[in-house]
């Protein structure tokens, strides 16, 4: 695949040198530079070959700003990095949101963080920030935001037409689970337009990363996705290990898998309860908390926390697991197996539940690709893409598990996918426990202060919500030069406005719930 794409790229783009990168170190196979004029052609090239835009990143190198586009695809492992250099004095770039819909939000984000204007972009308004911010936060120098830019950025106003009214779903609303705000333009009970307004929980983790050491930032990762903190931990730790070339002992890898899968279970359980509460059934919430408590009780003595874990370290683990952990996990796995049939009986067969979710929020494969949807939502559409299979980190490569997929891509399918994923998580935990090797949990060669070699890495892991991509640029200092988090909920939320259009308010809640959003992760 990589060879074929390279040849086709070479043929399509005359005069551009396509270079190969070491996938093991960099996380992408090919990279090349493109000029402003050729960008759209490149985007179309990848669109025709069913690639999706995994991430769009901006890096300020001082003399120039670099826009990085990571293209990836669902069928086979082939990642391409495309770089576009732009002038920092007058940062203008062509938009590719006309080709890839998901670029729309990425470009808005870059606009407010770096001040890059995208020509032809339909809606260049604030995504996370507001008029009170005076400087472009992620630029290396202090670049003030001009009043004119502030006005154009702040030009979003919820529209009320004749016969319609707007309603704020959030920021304080029982079913947005956090502080997401969606401005709905309603015609009676029907939604005409849905505009998510983000930033209520924006903490600028990416800027924090530039101001603290690699290890210091580790604690931040769990704060982004508080429900799937372990997977974010894993993603960050493995990304840095990849950048520095640190090897991890086997035992640590196995424990990483067990801990991450336990956390995935607890995250999905939480989703199950919250989703059904959204649909009006309040009892399952308490049932899943019963199970979730047990997971927390298992993880607490080992990791030191119950929610925002910070358990993994570069080169190993913070703490070794003991016999009590192994015994507790084994007992929990046995118990959990019996619980699935209970949930099946209580929820899955309920006719009201089925009627509320079947045919609601249908995501087609094509739309899923254009919007770069990932995780269970993507698998619900029928695309069997799981980073644990395609790019296994830790000991995932040695585990035997299925990637459940749906057929219709509606909320019910996504529900089934998540339930089956929980069953598979149990399966993985069982295998990892059975094969848990003895040995050290920390590599001996891990340096106290990390100074990764110059270069960048785009590393992905599968979190409970989907593809987490971490892009780190290192300049050989002890702090990252730039760190970009491509978070799954952000991409999954992008698909919501289209799904909600024309549906009832109650359906919007059902769709929002099926996407399983974690707001701090979207806002970062």
């Amino acid at each position: 695949m990589v060879e074929r794409i390279k040849a086709e790229l070479g043929a399509a783009l005359k005069g551009i040198e396509i270079r190969e990168a070491s996938y093991r170190e960099r996380g992408y196979h090919l990279f090349f530079e493109v000029a402003s004029g050729g960008l759209l052609q490149v985007a179309r090239f990848f669109d025709e070959r069913s690639f999706y835009l995994a991430a769009e990143i901006c890096v300020d190198y001082g003399e120039y700003l670099e826009l990085v586009y990571i293209f990836s695809n669902h069928a086979s492992l082939c990642k391409v990095k495309v770089a576009l250099k732009i002038d920092p004095a007058k940062p203008v770039a062509p938009t590719i949101s006309t080709v890839f819909d998901c670029a729309c939000w990425y470009e808005r984000e870059i606009r407010e963080f770096f001040g890059v204007t995208f020509e032809g972009h339909p809606n260049m308004t604030y995504l996370f920030l507001h008029e009170g911010i005076d400087y472009y936060p992620l630029r290396k120098g202090q670049i003030p935001i001009s009043d004119e830019d502030k006005r154009s950025l702040g030009s979003f106003r919820p529209g009320e037409g004749e016969d319609t009214f707007s309603i704020n779903l959030g920021p304080q609303h029982p079913s947005t689970h956090g502080v997401l705000r969606v401005v709905l333009k309603m015609d009676g009970e029907y939604i005409e337009e849905a505009d998510p307004v983000l930033g209520y929980l924006h903490r600028m983790h990416e800027k924090m990363a530039e101001n603290r050491g690699y290890l210091q930032f580790l604690a931040n990762t769990g704060r982004m996705d508080y429900l799937g903190a372990m997977a974010f931990n894993l993603g960050y730790v493995t990304a840095v290990e990849r950048l520095c070339g640190i090897a991890v002992p086997d035992r640590a890898n196995y424990v990483r898998v067990i801990a991450t899968e336990l956390n995935r279970l607890s995250s999905h359980l939480m989703w199950l309860g919250a989703y059904l509460a959204d649909l009006g059934a309040l009892t399952p919430f308490l049932f899943v908390f019963d199970d979730r408590e047990q997971i927390n009780d298992i993880l607490e003595p080992v990791t030191g926390s119950r929610l925002t874990y910070c358990y993994f370290r570069f080169g190993g683990l913070y703490n070794d697991v003991d016999d009590a952990f192994v015994a507790g996990t084994k007992a929990f796995v046995e118990r959990m197996k019996g619980r699935f049939s209970l949930y099946e009986k209580l929820v899955t067969g309920n006719v009201i539940f089925i009627n509320r979710t079947r045919g609601i929020g249908v995501i087609e494969k094509e739309r899923a690709r254009k919007q770069a949807v990932s995780g269970p939502v993507l698998r619900g559409t029928g695309i069997a893409m799981d980073m644990r299979k395609t790019e296994p980190c830790a000991a995932y490569g040695e585990m035997d598990f299925d990637v459940p997929v749906g057929t219709r891509g509606d909320a019910l399918d996504i529900y089934h996918v998540r339930i089956k994923e929980m069953e598979n998580a149990v399966k993985i935990i069982e295998q990892a426990l059975a094969r848990l090797p003895e040995g050290p949990i920390m590599t001996e060669k891990a340096p106290k202060k990390l100074k990764p070699p110059k270069g960048d890495v785009y590393h992905t892991v599968e979190t409970p919500r989907g593809e987490l991509g971490i892009y780190i640029v290192s300049d050989e200092s002890d702090t990252p030069y730039r760190m970009k988090w491509r978070v799954p909920s952000f991409s999954n939320l992008m698909v919501f406005p289209e799904l909600a259009k024309g549906n009832l308010l109650a359906d919007a809640v059902a769709i929002l719930g099926s996407l399983d959003l974690v707001i701090p992760e979207i806002d970062r």
Binding site: G280, L282, N350, F353, N355, R356, L504, L505
Partner: protein
């Protein structure tokens, strides 16, 4: 005492005493039901429910009521004042009137009106009006949507409700609740009219805005629906009305289908309350086990299933009675 009675007449005195009794019962019933709801919910959700205040937490509802009474009554600036203030009071009127005609026992009835059931149905449609007043007067979009939903829902479900009661009225040739209970000396009507009972029960759950039909106050969609902007005692009045309504629809079901106060050994009132609270428990059980239906589905259930079925049932009953 005798002087007062002789002055206003025995009948009026009895009615007034009955009304006072009803008021006491309404408050007492709401207290018991809030406690019961929390206990039922607790046990269904693997919890215990209230247990600290009084034995088994029995005093908890009183503590809650005191808390609500002590709360500052907030009035949002942009509300339509007359409507906003009147709505929680008005929602209580139909509730009280309904109690007048319900026979708790052979002799325990405030007033046996010969069109008793019509009185209840006519007044219960009024409660929609106060919900609409609350929703409109609150000047809040969520409240308004909740109120509009409530109107559509109540109109849709009053028809099957009435249609399900009609066969019983045809069988007894009377609108008087007492006469209907007396007619069930032998076999309860639920055995003659199982379908009508089911239709009535579903419709009555919808009438009282309970899950799975709690769309007017659907928490995950409309925050709290029509009473979003109410706090303190005003909110408590809506709450009180809801629980009283639950009891009333159960009491009517018992009167019409489950033999009312009839039963062996125990006094009539005990039987009546036992049966009523059993139905109340079923309604609570539904709430804590089912998700909520969607609005269009809700209307479809009524217009496309319940009403045609109720008509067929009515025709069959009419036909059979003629034979």
């Amino acid at each position: 005492m005798e002087q007062i009675v002789s002055m206003i007449g025995w009948k009026t005195a009895k009615t007034i005493a009955g009304l006072v009794g009803v008021l006491i019962f309404v408050v007492f019933n709401a207290l018991i039901l809030t406690w019961a709801e929390r206990k039922v919910a607790g046990h269904m959700q693997r919890r215990i429910g209230p247990k600290e205040v009084g034995p088994y937490g029995l005093i908890q509802p009183i503590a809650d009521a005191l808390k609500l009474l002590g709360k500052e009554i907030l009035t949002p600036r942009a509300v339509d004042r007359p409507l906003y203030f009147l709505a929680p009071i008005l929602i209580f009127v139909p509730v009280l009137v309904s109690f007048i005609v319900i026979p708790f026992d052979a002799s325990l009835q405030v007033k046996d009106i010969n069109v008793g059931i019509l009185v209840i149905l006519a007044f219960s449609s009024l409660s929609v009006l106060s919900i609409l007043m609350a929703g409109w007067g609150s000047n809040n979009k969520y409240a308004l949507i909740g109120a509009i939903r409530s109107v559509a829902q109540n109109i849709a479900y009053e028809i099957p409700l009435l249609l399900a009661l009609l066969p019983v009225i045809m069988m007894t040739n009377s609108f008087s609740l007492k006469a209907i209970v007396e007619a069930q000396k032998g076999l309860w009507f639920v055995f003659y009219q199982p379908l009508a009972f089911c239709i009535y029960f579903i419709a009555s759950v919808a009438e009282t805005n309970r899950t799975p039909f709690d769309l007017p106050e659907a928490e995950s969609e409309l925050v709290a629906g029509y009473h979003t902007e109410y706090s303190g005692m005003r909110f408590a009045l809506f709450f009180l009305a809801e629980y009283t309504n639950i009891f009333i629809v159960s009491a009517i079901a018992v009167t019409f289908f489950l033999g009312g106060y009839q039963g062996p050994f125990l006094p009539g009132i005990i039987w009546f309350l036992l049966k009523s609270y059993l139905l109340v428990f079923v309604i609570m059980w539904l709430r804590w086990t089912f998700p909520r239906v969607r609005f269009d589905q809700l209307l479809n259930i009524s217009w496309k299933a319940l009403i045609p079925l109720a008509f067929i049932n009515l025709l069959l009953t009419g036909g059979l009675l003629k034979l």
